[in-house]
């Protein structure tokens, strides 16, 4: 691991920031832990929890906007991680590598989205999630977090800036807050179909920019 650190440090010299290699190093650690999880290693699970739980709890809290729901969701998410660790594919032919943390965040987001959508379909979506946002502690990003966010999100941020303003906001809000088309349409005060068209055009433009 020490050699890896040295290598990452070397690599970072050629870059604008060393933060990306920090997350690479974390991904290597996570990949190792997940390999051990696949062999049913409980101590690896404990370590993985310590490393990943704050981030994943942040995801559940942000999307579900309810502390109890987020706590329940986090439990389910880690049960899924334990059961699916063998399915983690760090990289695959013809596509870029998916980082360990990104894989874990995807599980937490997917689970949160399933909860949000099933709640709406049961008709319990009447309570306005926006009221609850105010109750949550919402610490602004500290400079370090802001730097990390800026570093890891730089490429997509540039592409988002090229989109008409409302579309970038809608994409970001859908991804981060878990809003459905209905909710996005209501928030932007446009018909559902208009929202869908906007968002799809935004996504297509984003894809073209990211793959450029």
């Amino acid at each position: 691991m020490t050699t890896l650190t040295a290598k990452n440090a070397d690599k970072a010299k050629g870059r604008e920031t060393g933060l990306e290699s920090q997350s690479e190093e974390q991904d290597v650690e996570l990949a190792g832990l997940m390999a051990r999880l696949a062999l049913r290693d409980r101590s690896a699970f404990s370590k993985l929890y310590d490393v990943a739980a704050p981030k994943l709890f942040g995801v559940c809290l942000r999307m579900l906007k309810d502390r109890q729901l987020a706590e329940d969701a986090l439990q389910e998410v880690f049960v899924k991680i334990w059961r699916n660790a063998g399915g983690y594919r760090p990289s695959s032919q013809g596509s870029q590598a998916q980082g360990g943390m990104a894989w874990l965040v995807a599980i937490a987001r997917n689970h949160s989205i399933d909860i949000l959508r099933s709640r709406v379909s049961r008709g319990a979506g009447s309570h306005d999630p926006i009221d609850e946002v105010a109750e949550l502690p919402s610490p602004g990003p500290n400079p370090e977090q802001a730097a990390i966010s800026a570093s890891t999100g730089r490429r997509i941020d540039n592409c988002m800036e090229e989109l008409p303003e409302g579309r970038a906001d809608a994409i970001r809000a859908a991804y981060v807050e878990g809003y459905s088309y209905d909710e996005l349409a209501a928030r932007h005060g446009v018909p559902l179909n208009t929202m869908r068209t906007w968002l799809r055009r935004g996504l297509a433009a984003l894809r073209d920019c990211l793959e450029r």
Partner: protein, 236 residues
């Protein structure tokens, strides 16, 4: 809506994948997309690509420490061996420490016995791990062996090779020729069968290495292609 979705139009599929990852689909469309992921590798690749794109937004999620009791609750749920009924009646909270002590004693006795047999033979429950990396960091992988198990798990972290090549794993010990262990997949963890004798011979300080070989592995029994990653075995 469904007709439009089921039309086999590449761009529609790509948009569906994007909407799926974004999470904006209605439950029925979401289920449809889930079925496609299971059935169509091409769609599942689109979803993966969008997942990678949009994961760049993950920095927006700020870390928040969960309450301490959650970890215990999850571990209880995953690892508790007693029935839920026993847990509710409080039986397990009485017996569990006792069971743990007994297990620990057994392991210790087993360990002492094995230690006595030979200092070189890893005791039951030993686990060896090797983190393989390359100078340029283009390749890395994690190798894990359980002393008791008959397989070795190799998880590639970064391993892209030409399609007409295979990655082969070698065990290298000081003063001995590399021993071939098996071929390793590049995109998914590989479980390589290993005999208990061979597993016992892997020791703290040995080296695992990956080399690029012709399809099917080295024709000579020794590495013929470049060694792209290597790492020492550590007991954990």
């Amino acid at each position: 809506m469904k007709d439009a979705l089921e039309r086999d139009d590449g761009n529609d599929r790509d948009m569906l994948a994007a909407e799926y990852v974004l999470g904006v689909l209605e439950p029925s469309q979401r289920q449809f997309a889930n079925r496609l992921i299971a059935q169509e590798p091409e769609f599942s690749r689109l979803v993966e690509a969008w997942g990678n794109h949009l994961a760049q937004l993950d920095g927006e999620f700020l870390e928040k420490r969960p309450p301490e009791h959650l970890k215990t609750a999850i571990e209880d749920r995953l690892f508790a061996t007693t029935s839920p009924a026993a847990r509710r009646s409080g039986v397990s909270s009485f017996w569990r420490p006792l069971a743990l002590v007994t297990t620990a004693l057994l392991l210790l006795l087993g360990g002492l016995y094995a230690y006595d047999m030979s200092r070189l033979i890893p005791v039951a429950g030993d686990r060896l791990v090797a983190t393989l990396s390359s100078d340029g960091n283009e390749f890395s992988a994690v190798v894990l062996i359980d002393a008791g198990s008959r397989e070795l798990l190799v998880t590639p972290v970064k391993a892209e090779i030409a399609e007409d090549r295979d990655l082969e794993l070698w065990l290298i010990r000081d003063g001995a020729a590399p021993a071939p262990i098996g071929l390793v997949a590049t995109g998914a963890p590989s479980r390589l069968p290993i005999s208990p004798e061979a597993a016992r011979q892997i020791l703290d300080g040995d080296t695992f290495a990956l080399s690029i070989e012709p399809k099917g592995g080295s024709p000579t029994g020794q590495p013929t292609g470049p060694v792209v990653a290597a790492g020492k075995v550590k007991k954990i």
